[in-house]
Assembly symmetry: D2
Homo-oligomer: 402 residues x 4
């Protein structure tokens, strides 16, 4: 742990899947990185008093509350970490920023462009007062992904020609899987598109340094009616088989879209929860005039690189094991070849956030970056509604200005 | 070789890449399969007298000619094998059918829907007189692909939810690669789309047993001007560096499209010659409600199968090495684990054609199957021209009837 | 964290690579598992006062000391965790057991069979008084490895015919890498053999449920002289280039051996620090009459299973992603497909140890299990000294009895 | 086909698995390579008149005979291709050389060192008279293997530290698989060791350019009694279930051995027919001080190369698809990414043999090279008999001299 005495006191709202992942990261970040501030896990907030008390004890938070407004009102909270479903991101975040708290908000930033614009504007205002905001696109901090970004920025791929990105899961293939909140538009905003599609939109824009300028999209809800759930936890859920109670699925099961990047490349995207056998298959391939990079989240310690500038007879896809001490973020961990897991991306995220807040820098991805993702999501939904008509992504900047 | 005395005399038009591959197959088919007829490599035809004479000698054809009409007119030719660029498929094929020859025509069937319709109609007429027609979508005969089709037909995947198909190459990434015939619309019809996109359209329709009903597409020509070639062979070519002579690339370098299958599934397709590092990467994944199949032409002896009906804790993608004697077509070859190559798909194709002709059965893919591919190609081109507007694939059947 | 009030107070000796890994596990275990006792990280011990103070702060230990005897003497320590180099395992462990502490001792158990026998005898005596002992072969707790053991025990492989196990690293390929303690026989006991070879010996005996009965071995020290180090941390180290100071490497760089299992199978083993490009490549394949299992530590979330009882045409190596909630230890972590890392094996180890101590059960691997590994290491060294003569592994049991 | 008029007339003895593979190669070699002589498939010989007549017709040989002495006596035979089981290699080869025929003899060269020495001496005598001899270790001609050899020879791996080579099959795992000739010592000479172990011995000596100087070995026959066969073909066979007739397996099912290379490296070898799920898994990894090469015959178009001289953060195993026109032997085949199969190694072998004979050069591997393999096989068998005692490989050269 750092020798600093400076503390950053965190209050987290939400305690389910994301809450557990964030807690593990908050707990670990100072143990493995030498940082200019120490994190104190001050308070956790959730609606159910019993459950949030349990969570506080289990996950290691000093106090708990059932009222997020109370948490935000506390003087002894520096950072508010918003891990709730998307329908409350805007309200909590706007209140936290107004209260002068730094904010880490889970992705997608909001359930609508309007909310995302408001949040981005508020973040810009707060930034002028030294308040930092960050959106939780944690996959940017998978070391192999960070390395992709660095290699593209260094010109190793040349001109980008193609992006192909999929994020495939299969957890609702079974039509008897119940109607959890992630399948309800009022809570989740959208389905596979906003939940996992948002990740590949952000990741590819981050890695290429380019924006998606337009899209043509198709979305589909394969199973339109599902049994009501009796309980859920993370992505798992149970059904009460006792009755015929079902409800309508109001989000997409899958979304596919074509896109153009503003640098001239073509891209294809697919987000689905119906890809049988694919558990967490975020896969991205980027072809440039000088090389290709390939990443697969199920093997997140590896990065494939094809370097077309090598002698022709020796060219091939190199499987780089991104576990060396000089690979991004890896100095903190184990000797080469000792792999890290999914949760480490959150620890890396917290490292960068703590460092930014402590040193007065702006962390990335900013709310403006996250708004850009929201604008793409919006274009995808509009295109899908219009029979996959080509749909330009609305520009972000004009509207952000005040 | 079969004990039969029945001979089928083949005349082949064209002697480049496809001509060499077909010759190897014609030469081999009776050596490894026991068939009801023996192939006789009677005649080869090409425009350049010197080159076709060399080809005849090298590839093992008894005679040669520079006039395909002469070849078709011969009494001692039973099967005409059309291996020319797409711009002459229709003319040669129609003449051959009219002359009562069985026809094997390379893919894509034609350079336009109109031609393909005419050829399909002619094939239907000829079929009534006992004349057989087949289009050379050879990848159907890769054992792993045939096995995919059989498994889907047997219901092993359940309801098809997703198809994702790419055919990626990188042979023209270099902007100095010359303007060969495959880059000229008048000869090739289209670029990556018709050349390699046609393969994944046919393959996925074949494997799923479903048709693509509509598409939304984007095509792109990344390098619009190229040096004129001084010579070419197969996919390789040379440039005369002496002058500024260049020409316009009139076909697409890459095509991407979304599609709906008539069984309700979503599909994404991509064909590109700009995917650096991908040499012959035809990759298809099909997700169904009960399982998933994955195929990669660069590892064509393997088929990955995820069986979601297995005990949950043991589910995984099985790498099936499709080299067992009871796998499709494999009884002819080597012991298990001794892999076959690209060219074997042609031998399998010739096996099925010879058997069909000798026994009076209709081989597949028929011209009607190939017309269906042409209609999809046409819909893709129309969608791309209309800014990726959703475009229904024209029905084949109504127009074929007379 | 568990609702229990029962505490287990841990004192750890050592704070380098293993100390950091163990700390992360002690800190995490109650956060993710519901256990009958809570761990309290009471004290850490190391020789250098400044460094151990830093480590205590950074890793989260309440107190520190430079005297392990003092740590053992404390009343408020329940478990002593021995993470020092092998030359002090015996002394510390024997003292801790004598003081009535439960002991977790890192592998290999000791630097000699004599020490290991003494420790095993002491553990047996202590066990009668309710004191638990465990040796830290953490790879047993990689979920895929635990699953292998369960599948073999369930008869899924039938009769074991072959084991092939390698543990390959490359961190001392460079002859200028300095002479760290792991390369000195007096501290490390042996080189690649004891450090990483011990892991594959234990792992394969654990998974197969069989013992190695005899061996034939070759060991080699490729680089016999190395510069003296100026500093080291984990597996990394630095050299002071200022002078000619070098020292002799007194351990093996690589060890290869043949073995027979007491169930009749044949086995090959290889441990090397000179396998260029292999970072942490512990790979094990086990062939049985009914199937095969394959594991690779660099992809530790995956297990390959070939089930020869499946229909012949569908047999293949299945890549099982061992991330489902019902896979061993995985209920604690993330949704399917969200992978875990190297360090999680330690958390799983601590879980089982805490549970065993709290419930009065004997944890595995016991010191007797670890002695068995030591006996194999000893047989390997004797065989190598005797020109790879076949060497029976000394039986453990007779000598343990008192 | 070459423009030359020079013919090389081949007579082949044997018509089973190897006979079919060789025939395919003889038939193809002039079709794809431009060579200084044309092959004429003049005569085939086998013991069963009916079967050899069928084989001649099917495989494309002009004449057939049941008497190999007659074949050798013919004036119009230039090359004798010996594809029989190992027990007749010496007799046929010695007679052929004595008759002034060039000889291609399948591997292993002989069933004993004495025979191999005699053959090598005869080849040396014949060589002085312009007669060429070659042993059929065809895997040297897999392009990826040739490329490995070239890269090692060019110093790309630096000093060789480790070789690990396995050749794993599973075709006799079932104890009811019958007692075919390959399981009988008098015909096959040895079991897995001589059949497939010989390949990895030759391949690794070829690639490294080093000789195995000594070994320590264990062999095992897991199933000691098997039913007598009623028919067999290639590696497949059938059993007559009618009676209790069984016979003793007189060869090894598996052989494992440690070795030292004369350049100072350590090596492990394993040959087994009991590796469930492994069909033709010849896998070789070579670690040197500067890099590593990995090959797998089930993916024979690929070569993995780890180049430790690359920038540290980008090092990784590159999967080179060995299908480019400038890769060894590949100019003859298809565009990049279009893979070749097992049988192509024989075509490459015939190419080199034809070229050597036509130009008066000595083809490799020579009988002396094959004798070296035989000496290693012999050392392995002696070591196994002596309880895996370290056994020096007998030197070849002294005894060859006359």
């Amino acid at each position: 742990m750092s020798t600093t005495d400076r503390e950053l006191r965190v209050g987290m709202v939400g305690y389910a899947f994301m809450g557990a992942a964030h807690s593990q990261a908050w707990r670990t970040v100072n143990r493995v990185y030498d940082l200019p501030a120490r994190v104190r896990m001050a308070a956790i907030c959730g609606r159910d008093a019993g459950k949030v008390a349990d969570a506080a004890d289990r996950l290691g938070w000093e106090t708990y509350t059932t009222d997020w407004r109370e948490l935000i009102a506390r003087d002894d909270i520096d950072i508010v970490d918003v891990c709730t479903p998307g329908d409350s991101h805007a309200e909590i975040t706007l209140a936290a920023l107004a209260a002068g708290k730094h904010v880490l908000c889970e992705k997608p930033l909001a359930n609508s462009v309007a909310e995302a614009r408001a949040m981005t504007a508020a973040a810009a205002t707060a930034q002028a007062a030294g308040i930092r905001s960050m959106c939780g696109f944690n996959y940017r901090r998978v070391p192999a992904v960070t390395m992709m970004q660095q290699m593209v920025a260094a010109g190793r791929l040349g001109t980008i020609r193609h992006v192909r990105a999929v994020y495939l899961q299969d957890w609702i293939v079974d039509p008897q899987f119940p109607l959890v909140w992630r399948l309800q538009k009022d809570k989740a905003g959208s389905g596979a598109l906003g939940d996992i599609g948002a990740h590949i939109i952000d990741l590819t824009q981050f890695v290429t340094g380019q924006r998606i300028s337009g899209v043509s999209a198709v979305t589909e809800t394969f199973v339109k009616e599902r049994p009501l759930p009796t309980g859920s936890s993370g992505l798992a859920a149970t059904v009460d088989g006792s009755g015929p109670a079902t409800g309508q699925v109001t989000v997409d099961d899958a979304a596919i879209f074509l896109a153009r990047l503003d640098g001239g490349g073509l891209a294809t995207y697919e987000a689905s929860r119906f890809a049988t056998g694919r558990k967490n298959a975020l896969r991205v391939e980027i072809n440039g005039s000088l090389g290709t990079l390939v990443f697969d989240l199920e093997r997140l310690n590896e990065l494939e690189f094809y370097d077309a500038t090598r002698p022709a007879a020796e060219q091939g896809f190199s499987r780089i094991l991104v576990t060396e001490g000089d690979h991004p973020y890896m100095s903190a961990w184990w000797p080469p070849g000792h792999i890290i897991g999914y949760e480490h991306s959150f620890t890396h995220q917290m490292r960068d956030l703590v460092e930014a807040v402590a040193t007065g820098a702006d962390p990335a991805p900013s709310f403006a970056d996250a708004l850009q993702v929201q604008l793409v999501l919006d274009a995808v939904e509009r295109s899908a509604r219009l029979g996959s008509a080509w749909t330009e992504v609305e520009p972000a900047l004009a509207q952000v200005a005040v």
